[in-house]
Each structure stands twice: as C-alpha cells, then as structure tokens.
C-alpha cells in the first residue's frame, strides 16, 4: 500500500467520510437528488419556456413599428364647452419616411433584423370560393430573418417575385389549389391581381396558414393602394426579453406606434414569469433542504469524531486545520453529489423526453443538458456544501482537546 499522497486536510476529510459509510451515502444521496431535481427542473422549464416562446414568437416579430393611429381633435379647445369626440376609423396608411425609420431601427443596439412589410386585408378568390386573407408584401431576404419561413415551407422555397405568391396549406386546402395553380386576389379598395402559387407553408398555426398570402412589396403596395409605402416595420432583437426596451427606445426616437411582443403577449409573459418564480422557489427550498441535510450529518459527525479531533489536536493540528477538515467534507459531499446529480438529471431528461411527446410525436423537450445550468448547479452545491459545513466545522475547531479525548 503506497503512502497517502493527499494533503493532511483532504486525507482526513476523505477518511472520515469513508469511515461513516452509511451517513456519507445518505447525505450524498440527498445532495444527488437535490441537484438532480434542480438541474432537471431548470432544464425542463427553460426548454418548455423556449418551446412556448418559439411557438408564439416563431411566427411574429419581436417588435413592430406602425404609423400612429389617427384621432379626431377639437379645433377650438374651449374649456367652457363639452364635446363628445368620436374615435376615428383607421385606414391603411404608410409609415412616413419609412426608409429612414428602417435605418433608425437598424442602428439600434441589440437589433438583429429589420424588415419593412406591406400588409393589408384582401380576398382570395377561386371559382365560387372566397376567403378573407392578409396580403403580406415582403422582401423575402429580410423577412426570413424575422420569421424563419424557410423552415416552415412544405413545398417550394420562400422566394417571391413578379406575381408569384406563397400561401399557407390551410388556404390552399380551402381554395383547392397547390403549387403551380393560380388564385385571384382582390384588395379592399377593389384592385385585383391573378397570382401564381409558387410555394406552400405550414407555420404551425392554422389561422395564419389560412390567412397569410406573401407577395412582393411592390405588388402589395399596388394592390393595397400604398404606392412606395409600408404599413409596418418588423424587427427581431438578440434577446427576446430586450424587446420592450428596444421598442421604448424606438418609440422615443421615431414618434411612431412601437409595440413589443411583451406588450402584445402580456398574458404569456406573466405566465412565463410565474413559472420562473415557481421554479426559483422550488430550487430555493431544495437548496435549503440539502444544506440542512449536509449540516445535520456533519454535526453528528463532529460529535462522533470528537475523540479523533482531540487526538489530532494533541498531535499538533491547529483548530483552523480541524475546521478545514470539516469544511472540506461539506465541499466534497457537495461536489460529489453535484456530479452525481447532474448525471442523474441527464438520465431523467433522457428517460422523460422519450416518454412525454407532443401531439405530432416529437419529444416534449430535448434530452440535452445545458452546460451552464449543470455548472451553476454544481457550483451552488459546492458552495452550499461548504456553507452548510461552517457551523459543524466551527464547533469542531472550538472543541477542547482534553474534553474531546476524554469523550
């Protein structure tokens, strides 16, 4: 048997842990379970949130700039008279100086993509079928950076030119058309055009699959009577939770109506935040329970080891080094439990992702483990282990060696 190579504190801490097999196994089990719960829950919730966000925001811009709403104003502001001001009907209008607004948006930090859109109501007609649709005049290269249309195409590519159009699969079904067929589109103002279908998309939302008709900007401008204009500017930002901040800055800089997804989906945001708070609460409780577990086991260990502590003190070990032994035990239990916990969480993710599936058969969440979450959980377990060991370690350090030996 080779002589021990570890430093004194490590050597003694490891031997003490090894000697108290059952206690060590139990507390390791506790830490492993705690870390696994934290990592698994964090991973699960963050993935489910990401899926929800992706599903909701996958088909919409993070920030949308629109013209200000038109409003009636009194010609004379006479405080002595009372007037009832009726809200004004909103007509389709272009954003004033939209090219400058696009440049303004592009110049903002944290803005990834900007796409001007000409959007307005129209009817798609074929034979006796007539469907209400939203005409979307886009620059395909810019728009695919707002909504990842390439990934949603079921037939053809997301490319528009001339009188080509791309429609959703539901609309195609309703009109009985497919790629290569023609469909007649008439805008509310009476302008119409015969469009050739060059692509079909399935965006995962039946309503949008039934309503969106993509054409070139120029054609949409012509049909919607917005020559040279755009109805809205769609924007994507780096971090979706920066959207509100970006929209407020753009509103202040442009004077337009600027809305972020956080405003238009405030219920979703509240739900996500509540979910995050619940997750944090669960994690906090688990951390406290793990800390109490480590602390209580080490307190018992200090009592059980008091004779050994006294002997070590008699042999020249200072109280700080005795304290170090028990702090190390906490750290070792925390670290080892964290490693095992991360492994268990990975196993749980593999298992449950194969068990729980969405309606279309895809896994409800991906079985991959985020390194950041795993590392932070391991770090938390290590720190909690050391902190939990603080009280028993101080108790051990303060122990009177004579009393300890006599115990």
């Amino acid at each position: 048997m080779a002589r021990p190579k570890l430093p004194f504190e490590f050597l003694v801490a490891l031997r003490f842990l090894r000697e108290g097999r059952m206690q060590t196994a139990l507390i390791l089990l506790g830490v492993t379970g705690g870390v696994a719960v934290i990592v698994f829950l964090s991973q699960l919730i963050s993935q489910l949130q990401a899926t929800i966000i992706d599903r909701v925001l996958g088909s919409q811009a993070h920030v949308v700039m629109r013209p200000l709403e038109e409003a009636n104003q009194r010609a004379l502001n006479d405080p002595a008279s009372i007037a009832v001001i009726e809200p004004r009907a909103q007509r389709l209008r272009s954003i004033d100086q939209w090219e400058a607004m696009v440049k303004l948006a592009e110049a903002q930090p944290r803005v990834v993509a900007v796409s001007p859109v000409v959007s307005g109501p129209a009817f798609a007609l074929r034979g006796r079928a007539s469907k209400s649709v939203a005409l979307m005049g886009v620059d395909a290269d810019r728009y695919r950076r707002i909504v990842k249309m390439d990934g949603y195409m079921t037939r053809g590519t997301f490319h528009v030119e001339g009188t080509n159009a791309i429609i959703g699969i539901e609309l195609a079904k309703d009109l009985g058309v497919t790629v290569g067929d023609k469909v007649f589109v008439r805008a509310a103002g009476g302008r119409d055009e015969l469009l050739q279908i060059t692509g079909l998309f399935d965006i995962g939302n039946k309503d949008l699959n039934r309503r969106w008709v993509f054409t070139t900007m120029k054609l949409a401008q012509s049909l919607l009577d917005l020559p040279g204009g755009v109805s809205n500017i769609d924007i994507t930002v780096t971090d979706i939770f920066d959207a509100q901040d970006v929209s407020e800055r753009l509103q202040a800089g442009s004077g337009l109506t600027v809305e972020s997804w956080m405003t238009t989906n405030s219920q979703l945001l509240a739900a996500l935040r509540n979910q995050t708070v619940s997750n944090n609460l669960i994690r906090s409780f688990v951390i406290v329970i793990v800390a109490l577990g480590i602390s209580s086991v080490l307190v018992v260990s200090v009592v059980q080891k008091q004779k050994e502590i006294g002997i070590l003190r008699a042999m020249g070990a200072s109280s700080n080094r005795i304290m170090g032994i028990f702090l190390l035990q906490g750290g070792l239990v925390g670290f080892t439990g964290a490693l095992a916990g991360v492994g268990l969480a990975w196993g749980l993710l593999q298992f449950f992702s194969s068990v729980y599936r969405t309606g279309d058969g895809a896994p409800l969440f991906q079985p991959h483990l985020d390194t950041g979450i795993a590392l932070s959980a391991a770090l938390i377990a290590l720190v909690v282990g050391v902190l939990a060991a603080l009280i028993p370690a101080r108790r051990a350090a303060k122990m009177d060696p004579v009393q300890a030996i006599r115990a």
Binding site: M1, K5, F16, I311, M315, G316, S319, I405
Partner: protein, 230 residues
C-alpha cells in the same frame, strides 16, 4: 542538565468566576530534566492527568509559570502552543487513541503529516522503522481495530516517537493491559528513553513500574506530596 519542563507555582482551577470554582492543582513546582524518566503517581483525583494535560499544553494553567524546552508558554497564543506541542511533545494515552480510519503505518506518520502537510518518504521510512522496533513488522497496513490492545499501544508509542520529541507524556499507558504486556510496553518506553534521550513523564498507578523510573513524583490532593529518586 537543562530542564525540558519547568513548572513554578502552577495552579489550575475549574469553574473560574463561578460559585463552584474549584482549584485542583495548588502551586506545583517541578522540573523535568532532558532525558529523565519520571513517574507521576498518586491516588485517583489527585490531579495527575490535569498536570499532564497542562504540561502537554492541552490546557492552560490558571496561574503560575510553565516552560517547555526553555520557552515560557504564558504569553503564547493557541497557534504558538500548537506548534510547540507538535514540535516537542509526544503523547501516549491510556486507551491508545489511535485514529480508527487509518492504518498502523498512517497513524505513526500522522504527526509528521500534520507538521509537513503531506506524507513524505522520510516520514514513511521512519514509521516503518519504528513499527519494526516495536515489533509490529507485517502489521503496518492493519487498521487499529485489527490489532490487539498491546499492539495498539505499541503503535501509539511509535506514533509518539515519530518526530523524535524531547518529551513524551504517557497517561497510564499500561493501565488497560495485562501485566506481561504492560511490562513489554514499559520496557519499550524505557528503551527509547535511553536510546533517544527523550524525557518521559509517565502517569501510573502501578508501583512496580513506578519503582523502575529514575524519579517518582507523588501528587496528593493537587500538591506534590513526595519526590523520590532511584
């Protein structure tokens, strides 16, 4: 001959400042010379173990002077006392007090591991040599609970000697052993004392063993009642 231990008017009280304050040592004046082999005898409760703990720097006296290897200990902090204890003093306890999580070899190396921070090759060689000397060759890698009482006490003696201390304090090292084994252990301590020149202060109730020491100090009721030399 220089004194390894010098006590002057050493007193120890428990419960200081409370209504139950009790003085257990009432002004002890003792000197122990380098290499001396001395027995500390007396009835139970006379203060022998307390005196040994004070000399071992495991407890602080209430008053009086205590010098170890020429260093006055009164003004030293806990850390300095620990260093002094580790450097000059080896302990042998009645119930051997080996560390059960470690092997015999590791127990003997432990004082050196504490001092050096890690187990060195030198410390291992010394531990092997000491275990050979105390008759435990082949038992190096056994845990304490795999050894007999006499073997455990031999390991404890080897451990106390591992850093060649100038003073060995033995608190009834044979009190828990049969006569034959007790004689062996005592002979071992005596042998090391003569060979290495370590002073040895042994608390014992056994008059046979006390008679074989250079000097006997008898404590009665916390006072030195009688000192005799061979």
């Amino acid at each position: 001959m220089t004194a390894i231990v010098a006590l002057r008017d050493l007193r120890k009280s428990y419960g200081v400042g409370t209504p139950v304050e009790t003085e257990v040592l009432h002004g002890i004046d003792i000197e122990l010379a380098e290499g001396e082999f001395c027995a500390l005898i007396g009835p139970s409760g006379s203060g022998k173990s307390t005196l040994l703990n004070l000399i071992g720097l495991l407890e602080r006296p209430t008053s009086g002077d205590l010098a170890i290897a020429g260093s006055e200990t009164a003004g030293l902090n806990e850390q300095a006392l620990t260093v002094l204890r580790g450097r000059h003093i080896g302990f042998v306890f009645q119930f051997h007090h080996l560390l059960p999580a470690f092997t015999a070899l590791e127990n003997v190396m432990m004082p050196s591991i504490i001092e050096q921070g890690v187990a060195t090759a030198d410390a291992e060689a010394i531990a092997h040599d000491l275990l050979l000397r105390v008759g435990l060759k082949g038992h190096e890698h056994k845990k304490a609970n795999q050894l007999s009482g006499g073997q455990q006490q031999r390991v404890a003696i080897a451990r106390a000697l591992s850093r060649s201390p100038r003073l060995i304090l033995a608190d009834e090292p044979t009190g828990n052993l049969d006569t034959h084994t007790a004689d062996d252990i005592f002979a071992l301590l005596r042998e090391f004392n003569r060979e290495r020149g370590s002073a040895c202060l042994i608390v014992t109730h056994d008059p046979r063993l006390a008679a074989r020491c250079d000097r006997r100090i008898e404590l009665v009721d916390g006072r030195v009642a009688h000192v005799s030399s061979s």
